[in-house]
Every structure is written in C-alpha cells, then in structure tokens.
Amino acid sequence: MEASTARLGRRWSRGGRRYGTGERRLARAMLAPSLIVMALVAAYPIGYAIWLSLNEYSVRVPGLSRFAGFDNYSEAFSSPEFWDAVTVTFLFTVISVGIELAVGLGMALAMHEAFKGRGLLRTVVLVPWAVLTVVSAITWRTIFEPNLGLAPQVLSALGLPGADVVWLGETGWSMAVMVLADVWKTAPFMALLLLAGLQVIPNDVYDAAKVDGATTLQRFRRITLPLLAPAILVALIFRTLDALRIFDLPYVLTRGANDTTTLSLLSYQELTTNRLIGYGSALSVLTFAIVMGVSFLYIRLVGGNIRSLVADER
C-alpha cells in the first residue's frame, strides 16, 4: 500500500515537471487557504498556550497578571502530582495499547478469514468504537457499581470471588477497569486498521509458502507479521497518542481517585476547575511535548523499518 502511493506520488511529480513551474505555483496557491486555516486553528492556539504558560494570572485580583518565565514549569517538575500523573498516563498507555494490539490482531485475523456473514460481523464489531467515550465510561461505571452493578451481580450469581470488591474504590482495580473500558472500545478500531493491512498482502505469497511446506505458524511469523508491520505501526501510533491524552475515562470512572489521575485530567483540574491559567497551560504544553516526543520516538525507532520494508516489497 505504502509503495504504491509512493510510486503514484512520483508519477504525479514527474507530470508536474512536464507542465512546468506554473503548475507548481498553482498548487501552492491552492494549498494556501488550508495552510492558513491550519495556522489559525492549530498554530495560533498553541503559540498562545505557550505564552499563557509563561505568565501567571491572578485568581483574586481582576485583570492582574505577571510574567513568570519558567516558574510554572519548575513548579510542575517539583510537584509530586505531576510525576504521579506522568506515571499513571504511561502505565495506562502501555497496558491498554498492548492489550488492544493483541486483541485487535486476533479480531483482524478472524475477520480476514472468508466465512458467511463476514460483512455483517465487520460492521457489528465496530459498534463499541462508535459509542462516545463518555457514554461508555458512564456505562462501565454503572456496571461496576458496588452490589447493584452488573459485574458484582453476575459474580455473586455464579458464586465467583470478587462480588464484594469495590472495583472503583481500590487502587489497582480502578486502573484495571479503566483499561478494560478502553480495550472494549478501541480494540475494534485497531482490528479494522490491521484488517486493512491484511487485505493488501497478496495471496500468492501464502500459496508459495504453502508449496514450500511452511506451517501456519511459520506463515504467520514470516509473512503476515512482517508485511503487516506498517499497518501495526500506524495503528500503534494512533492508539498511543490517543491513550496518552486520555481524559474521559478517569473523569467519569473515578474522578482521578486511586491513582488514575492522568495528565489531561490534571491539566483540566488546574486549568478549568482551579482556574490557574498559567500553571494549567504549562501542564498542557508539557503534555503536548510528551506526545510529540513519543511520536518522534516511534518514527525514529520504527520509521527506518518501514522504509526497508517498502524497499523489500518493491
């Protein structure tokens, strides 16, 4: 998939050269409006958030503010709440995205097989993804409500342990419910991205491997996984960046209690509830920096692999 778009791109640019530079100028002119809109919508607020984070705005005296330099940042770095939030956010991201990848891959492989009602299943499986996160979070909160929720009722009806556990009142379990809710919602999305990747792997490769006597496991490890790597990477990046910004789940499930205060929730608390505009903006900018850092890490670590994979494919 990657290779064909790249080739297509080259063909276009060759065409461009044939029509001369006027064509390019036209292209730039046509791109300009969207670039300007992008600058207004994205770049301006970011620059503004960074500016806010360098100031302090009084919560008691109207209109009073002062330039604070990096005070807000040093306050964040010296606050245990910030580091707790960083830990919680990364813990949540690693666990939930890891499980989502495994579950999503399983679902994708199952949906890739030809069987009756495959189209219907592919649609149905996406339903959790279509549900708003807040709505699904409220549902999960109700499911794990002590005594009266579905989870304790089912556990006690089956005579299983855990019927008396206050799931959202314990440190480890709160995180577990949060991960469960996230996996339920986003594994189908992961599956769909991976399914798209599976479908562009030509069947000839598998047929050839079969002729050579490769077992199912060998075919999976030697053909499916390497050829699926670009799709896996894209899916991982999407999910990781989303998970690093998680807000709705802890806000609804626990209000950040029991070590579930993520970076976004902390920023919200300081910015919106406590109205500490400078400090809250500093936390937002730090979240932004972390998300950016992780993205670049992904690209550096695995970006090279894509290039070599694309080269191999050719």
Binding site: N147, G169, V291
Partner: protein
C-alpha cells in the same frame, strides 16, 4: 518520504491535541472593569437572558412566563446550560472572560459566587438586597456576600438530611451521629457521598461544623484545618469504614449511587439532599423510610452545609435594571412556591415553608427550613475550588487508609494555606 509524511501528520495531530487543551481558557487579563459596579434600581423592561442549568422540571419556564405576562414591556428568555454544575461554571466563565453580554442573569452555584465577585464579573446588588433582607432566611444571604457586599440574590437553597429505614429491617431515628453509626453497624450500614469530589467536602464539613471546627479563619486568609476537630472528624469517618458501620462502597458513591443503594435496601441510614425524598416515595421502599435533620455530634447540635443557587447580574449585561426586576420577581414568595412545588427546590424565603401547597409537596418542609437555618456556607473564597480540592483529596486519603487522620489534617491545612496564598 513516508516517514516525513507520517511525521507531518503526527505533528498536525499533536498540534490539534494541545490546541484543544489551551483553547478553553482565553486571555484572563485584558482591560476588564477595574472597579466593581452596582445596580440599585429595577425597571421591568427590555430583553433579559437568564443563563442557568437545564430546566428539567419546567419550573424556570413557568417563572419566566409569569414575569413576561405581568410585565409586557420586558421579555425574559431562558438560555439553558447543561445539567452538570462543572459544565455550567465552565460555560459561564467562558462568556464572562470574553466580556460577553449574552447572559444578563446568571444562575450561580453558591460556591462560585465569591469567585465571580472577586473577578468583577457581577454587579453589586447590596442596595436591592438590603431593601428586603428580612424576607430571606439569613444563612442563605451569607452565600451571596463577599467583602461585605451582596453580589447575588439567593434563589434556591439546600441542606443535607438523614434518611433512615423504618419498619422491620429499619433502625431507630438517629439520636446522635455516634449512635447512628453504631446502629448502622448492627443493621445494614450508613452511606454517604464519599467519592473524591465536591460532595465529600460537603459531607466532611457537615460533621466538622457540628464538631465546632473550621477550615479557614473568618478573614479568609489563614487555614485552620490542623486542629483537634479535624482530626476527630477524620478519625470518626475512618473508624466508620474500618468497623464496617459504613460500607467501603461509599468511597465510590456520589448522590445518585447513594440513592440507588438506599432504595435497593442496601443501607439503613443515608445522608443525602432533599431531592431523594420524592424519588424515594416512588420507589419500592416508599412506605418504609423517613427523613430527619442532622442529629447532634460530640454533644453539639448538628449543623449542615448550604447548597443551592444564587441569581446574579453579569457585569457585562446591557440591561441591569431589567435583570434586577426579573430577579426580584423570581424571589417573591409566590414564585418561590412554584419552585418548591414543581421542582422540589427549597425556597430561600421563610414564609414559603408554611404554605399548604409546599407542605403537601415536601411533607418535611418545616424540618427543611430548620435544616437550612442551621446550615452554614462553605468557605466563601475566590479560591474555593482549590480549598475544596485540598479537603476532599485528604479526607479521601484518610478514608482509604492512605494517610493517618493526623497526617491528613496536616496536609489538608498545608494545602488550604497554599490555596489561600495563590497569586
């Protein structure tokens, strides 16, 4: 090439992410009114927009219709904000910071009033209040006062109650908090709002006020939470959970979870707001529960914490006189009666509680007035959100056993002091 494109997509995605975060709070500085302004005379004319939480029962619309009918020169319109208090505050602050004239009359939770007043977002209504101060229940007026001036009219009020199960699986009417915990332990327990949020602050302060303690001094500049009273209450609450008098589940309970558990027969005693009464009378325990005001604690009479909403006039309103006319109309006994009977919103005017229609809708109306009269406001401060956070996080840590009551009291005090010293 691919990598570059991927990088570009990621950067744009990340940019949008942070834009979403930063966008919410606009410039706090700006010109802003440097001195507060007052409105003294009311004149029922012109357009007025009333921005308050969702009109779930239709009672707000009824008041507007009545006003518009009585005042042909004026036209009040309702701008419904979301049901959630957090969202109401966020949307109001967004408009106020932008100096928007969209909202004339604001429905302001009692705990936001000081914060809005400190930012010069509200008009001083002291003159109008003082003309009829006697009509209001005195405690409700306290919530509208900041730096010796009134910034809002009380509109509806609220105070907590003890609900208890009568009959076979019930218990006796509580004679004191201590006794109630014990009796709850023998029966199915006492539940309250113990999740880590504003409700826990209220539940804690009810006990603390009863014990004679405070968290902030009168001048609002010193934290007073490192006290025997705070330790005592924290120990009492913690022991309740340790001994099983209070189920561990309360650490996840907000109002609705408590109500559902009580109606589901999972508790003998419950602390909740009056709204749970009408709903309880529609539930399977309709005939087997009763309500009462807070019993004594530590030998002191029980004290409550005031809830409810005030009506304030935005400093950016283009029709302050018309707004004042509408507010004065909305707090008249006749209109307050409608709020009480149609929406179960407790009135701020004392005589309403004696009306037969109100007594019919809220059979515990007299108790309710007592509860409101004995209740005290939460700390009136522009940094109230931070004070409350300092309270509920530390109370929660004590309930969970993460901190000893002693440690929680010290930390609460330090956190409140930090909050009070915010720039």
């Amino acid at each position: 090439m691919n990598v570059l494109r991927l990088a570009a997509i990621l950067i744009v995605a990340a940019l949008f992410a942070v834009a979403g975060c930063g966008d919410d709070d606009d410039d706090g500085g700006g010109s802003g009114a440097s001195d507060s302004q007052a409105v003294t005379e009311s004149r029922a004319q012109g357009d007025v927009t009333w921005c308050i939480g969702k009109d779930t029962t239709g009672a707000f619309t009824t008041v507007i219709d009545n006003f518009n009918k009585a005042n042909p020169d004026a036209n009040v319109e309702l701008l419904e904000l979301p049901e959630s208090a957090d969202d109401q505050r966020r949307l109001q602050i967004q408009r106020l910071r932008a100096e928007s004239a969209q909202c004339d009359v604001l429905g302001v939770d009692v705990i936001w009033t000081a914060e809005y007043a400190a930012q010069n977002w509200l008009l001083d209504v002291s003159d109008a209040i003082e003309r009829q101060a006697d009509a209001f229940i005195p405690s409700t007026l306290e919530t509208a006062k900041y730096e010796d001036k009134y910034w809002a009219f009380p509109f509806n009020t609220n105070a907590g109650f003890i609900y208890w199960r009568t009959g076979q699986d019930g218990g006796p009417k509580p004679a004191s908090w201590e006794q109630m915990y014990q009796q709850a332990g023998d029966a199915s327990g006492f539940i309250y709002q113990g999740a880590r949020y504003e409700g826990l602050t209220v539940n804690f302060l009810e006990l603390l006020y009863s014990a004679g303690g405070t968290v902030v001094d009168e001048g609002g500049s010193e934290a007073t939470a490192d006290s025997e009273e705070v330790r005592n209450v924290l120990t009492f609450m913690r022991d309740g959970i340790d001994s099983g008098d209070v189920p561990k589940a309360v650490t996840t309970y907000m109002e609705e979870e408590s109500r559902r558990a009580f109606e589901g027969g999972r508790a003998t005693y419950m602390r909740n707001w009056p709204y749970a009464y009408a709903l309880g009378k529609d539930s399977q325990i309709a005939d087997s529960f009763d309500v009462t005001t807070f019993p004594p604690y530590e030998g002191n009479p029980g004290a409550g914490v005031l809830g409810g909403y005030n009506l304030a006039i935005s400093a950016f309103s283009e029709n302050p006189e018309g707004s004042l006319a509408f507010i004065e109309f909305a707090v008249e006994p006749g209109q307050q009666e409608i709020q009480a009977t149609e929406a179960s919103l407790p009135a701020v005017v004392s005589e309403v509680y004696d009306m037969p229609s109100v007594k019919k809708a809220l059979p515990f109306a007299t108790d309710l007035r007592d509860a409101v009269e004995q209740a005290q406001p939460r700390p009136v401060s522009p940094v109230y959100p931070q004070i409350s956070e300092a309270i509920y996080t530390n109370v929660y840590a004590a309930l969970q056993g993460d901190k000893s009551p002693d440690q929680a009291a010290q930390d609460m005090n330090a956190d409140i002091q930090d909050a009070l010293e915010t720039f």
